[in-house]
């Protein structure tokens, strides 16, 4: 008896190298990259995606790496979310990344889903695109025209849309390692543990010994078609001596800086209010931890 098949027909090709993947993609505008499959396979099964060809990059083994490169945490295309979150370099140098990844779906999903796949997929409620903004990431891709690097700002262009051309493979992402002693916080509100977030925030804050802020990043997700860095609020804090009222005011100002939309899951007003609360809690936590680190030092 023939086994049932849910997706519409496609041709599966396993790329043995980046060059081969690029050539396969260039040869067919209806081809799609397959990485961990944790977003693509359900879309195929529901027939929301009907590519003619899948180019599997999952077996290009040398891309499954996590490494320190020039002050950056560099992650190759096929490194899984579990691999990255549990890597000693991530845990010691960019712990916010481990905390953020822990909020993606469930263990069983993160064991196959890749970090680069989540960035290329760019769901506006996803954790990793917002972390890419907060960590000044650069994303490098490859096509028959050669390699291209983009900042996270330039990379995320709209809901499920990125600056990647159809024939480009995202090959790696480089997250900047925050300054030593940086406090951080990652928070999100979801209906249930493991669900996509309604709103979430990643915040990083560093002060000098006098308490003057010299590094701050606030990145929100679930409040627009791309992750949003609230630069106006960061600028207010930068170079000032922080105290609790200053952090509260910064959080409140967040609400004016974002323009969420209403959807089936939450109204724009609700998202705005949740975002302000999350930023307040996140900044307070990041500030408290950076101060504690200064006290310990």
């Amino acid at each position: 008896m023939a086994a049932p098949v849910k997706p519409a027909p496609f041709e599966y090709v396993r790329a043995r190298s980046l060059h081969e993947a690029a050539e396969l993609l260039a040869a067919d505008p209806d081809a799609k990259v397959l990485a961990g499959g944790q977003s693509l396979v359900p879309m195929l099964s529901m027939r929301l995606a009907r590519p003619a060809r899948l180019v599997d990059v999952g077996r290009i083994e040398h891309l499954a790496y996590v490494d320190e490169v020039e002050g950056h945490l560099e992650i190759g295309a096929t490194a899984t979310q579990t691999q990255v979150a549990t890597h000693p370099l991530t845990l010691s140098r960019v712990p916010i990344l481990s905390a953020g990844i822990a909020r993606i779906g469930h263990t069983q999903i993160r064991n196959r889903g890749t970090v680069c796949g989540s960035l290329a997929h760019h769901d506006p409620s996803a954790e990793l695109p917002a972390l890419a903004l907060a960590l000044d990431a650069r994303l490098t891709s490859f096509s028959v025209r050669g390699p291209v690097s983009r900042t996270a700002d330039a990379f995320f262009t709209g809901t499920f849309d990125t600056a990647l051309d159809l024939d480009e493979v995202l090959t790696s992402v480089q997250f900047a390692m925050p300054p030593e002693g940086t406090g951080w916080s990652f928070r999100e509100v979801a209906r249930r543990s493991g669900d996509f977030a309604l709103v979430g925030v990643g915040a990083l804050l560093h002060t000098d010994d006098a308490g003057v802020v010299d590094h701050v990043r606030i990145s929100l997700f679930g409040v627009g078609s791309t992750p949003v860095r609230v630069r106006a609020v960061e600028d207010r804090l930068l170079g000032t001596v922080v105290d609790e009222p200053a952090l509260d005011a910064a959080a409140e100002a967040t609400a004016d800086q974002i323009d969420p939309t209403s959807d089936a899951h939450a109204s724009a007003d609700y998202r705005r209010e949740v975002a302000a609360h999350l930023v307040q809690e996140a900044l307070a936590e990041a500030w408290a931890t950076t101060r504690r680190k200064h006290a310990d030092a």
């Binding site: 008896m1 086994a3 049932p4 098949v5 849910k6 997706p7 519409a8 027909p9 496609f10 041709e11 599966y12 396993r14 397959l34 499959g37 944790q38 396979v41 359900p42 195929l44 099964s45 529901m46 899948l54 599997d56 999952g58 579990t82 779906g105 469930h106 263990t107 069983q108 999903i109 064991n111 196959r112 543990s193 493991g194």
Partner: protein, 160 residues
């Protein structure tokens, strides 16, 4: 049709498969290993959880061709013999961790993977891993109790 070689529960199979065949359908319909259940078929419920190279994954989110050259383990493989249960299965039975049993195979596979790592995980780690499984009979209390017992977290639980 691509030919793949996949080792399922220790037995190597060489099979011709459709490009678009899912691993779960390969297991259930081609290999007749119907212990792996299908609920949602899009990654949410966890019923289809199997071990791929020793890691728990959603069988419904893996193409059969992606399992080429890999090891797959299903719930059929976990009991050491016909009359002995795996410690995880035994704990599920002892704590009444199953009602209709539909979600059970997936949960057992997630817990077996943790059990093999033998690290005496913290209760919240176990609960986190269990959160990737939905039980339609909603017997969660007994399931978590079984999981904590099987993985050696019970004393920590009692101290609370």
């Amino acid at each position: 049709m691509p030919e793949i070689t996949v080792t399922v529960n220790g037995t190597e199979h060489r099979l011709d498969v459709h490009d678009r065949l899912l691993l779960t359908d390969l297991l259930r319909d081609r290999l007749r290993l119907t212990g792996t259940h299908l609920g949602c078929e899009h990654g949410v419920c966890g019923a289809c959880t199997v071990l791929l190279d020793d890691l728990p994954v959603r069988g419904c989110l893996v193409l059969a061709v992606q399992a080429d050259g890999r090891q797959v383990r299903t719930v059929e493989s976990v009991a050491p013999d016909a009359s002995t249960l795996h410690p995880v299965q035994q704990a599920m039975a002892d704590c009444h961790g199953l009602q209709c049993g539909f979600c059970t195979p997936g949960i057992v596979m997630t817990l077996v993977a943790m059990h093999e790592r033998d690290e005496r995980p913290a209760t919240d780690e176990v609960d986190e891993a269990l959160s990737g499984h939905l039980c339609r009979c909603t017997g969660y209390r007994n399931i978590t109790e079984a999981a904590h017992r099987a993985l050696g977290c019970e004393r920590e639980e009692a101290r609370r």
